[in-house]
Symmetry: C2
């Protein structure tokens, strides 16, 4: 939670009010723009991390997670502004952290398992750690995508700016 609570203010500082061109630029076909990433994180709040944690902690005998749709946000947010998505993310994350905190999870609960569509057995502890890493990965992605929009402007400095290199492969 110490890290998860940082993501909304970090995204706000990095993105709120940025030029629309910068917010909608990506790293090529099938890659995410900063706008897409915020939509993807909203999907995570609504359909991924906490819903899966609730399945693990539930009394149901079927602990299979619902498969996650990585492109749900595309249609969902087609008429939205970045500002409204940022606000929505802030609110969803705050609600989720309030609920997570209210659980006062014990070590025993953190070792409870659910069934991931790809991996099979996973623990609640692994799910929560992955949520943290997922956030940080997408913060890094947003910064990288923004950086690449200045690729043609830096001249010879390119060689000292590895964030511009393509070995940092596009991904969502």
């Amino acid at each position: 939670m110490e890290v998860l609570r940082r993501t909304p203010p970090t995204l706000h500082a990095l993105l709120h009010g940025v030029d629309e061109r910068l917010a909608r630029s990506n790293e090529g076909a099938e890659t995410f723009s900063p706008f897409d990433v915020v939509g993807h994180l909203i999907d995570g709040e609504e359909t991924d991390w906490m819903p899966r944690a609730r399945i693990i902690l539930s009394d149901e005998s079927d602990k299979r997670f619902t498969p996650y749709d990585r492109f749900r946000h595309r249609e969902r947010n087609s008429n939205r502004t970045l500002a409204s998505l940022l606000e929505e993310f802030v609110n969803l994350r705050a609600e989720n952290l309030k609920e997570l905190s209210s659980w006062k999870l014990t070590d025993t609960q953190l070792d409870l398992k659910g069934i991931h569509p790809t991996f099979g057995d996973v623990t609640l502890r692994q799910l929560l750690a992955s949520w943290v890493v997922h956030d940080l990965g997408h913060i890094a992605q947003i910064a990288r995508v923004m950086a690449k929009q200045y690729r043609d402007d830096v001249g010879p400095w390119t060689v000292f700016l590895p964030v511009l290199s393509d070995h940092e492969s596009p991904r969502s």
Copy 2:
């Protein structure tokens, strides 16, 4: 400036008050921790970007830049706290942006040149764009370094979390 002014609040949101273990962890020998990155950005404010811009704009005939010491911060900040470095960076960046803004640079001025110790001729325009990309690269680095501290906790999710992979080579 639209991007440069975002770096202090972004770093504050991401790092202020984080666990000391997280702030001081890195990606292995000779790589930067988040603490080191903030120190490196302070060095940039004091010895790199604006000093070089001033050289380009000066009346001096010698436009050679002073070589930049990438490890100045190591000794300089050995007794500092992350909180005090963050505060110092906020202040230095604010002063530098105030000065940069006061110049009201024209296109002609942006095309003026200085002499980089490695590259030779570079324009003020390239210098300023590189400053922006440098900031964003280090924001991405901080998020990546933080993420890697959870590498052993995510279990099978590793394969879906490319920020944890080593093809994202450590660098400063």
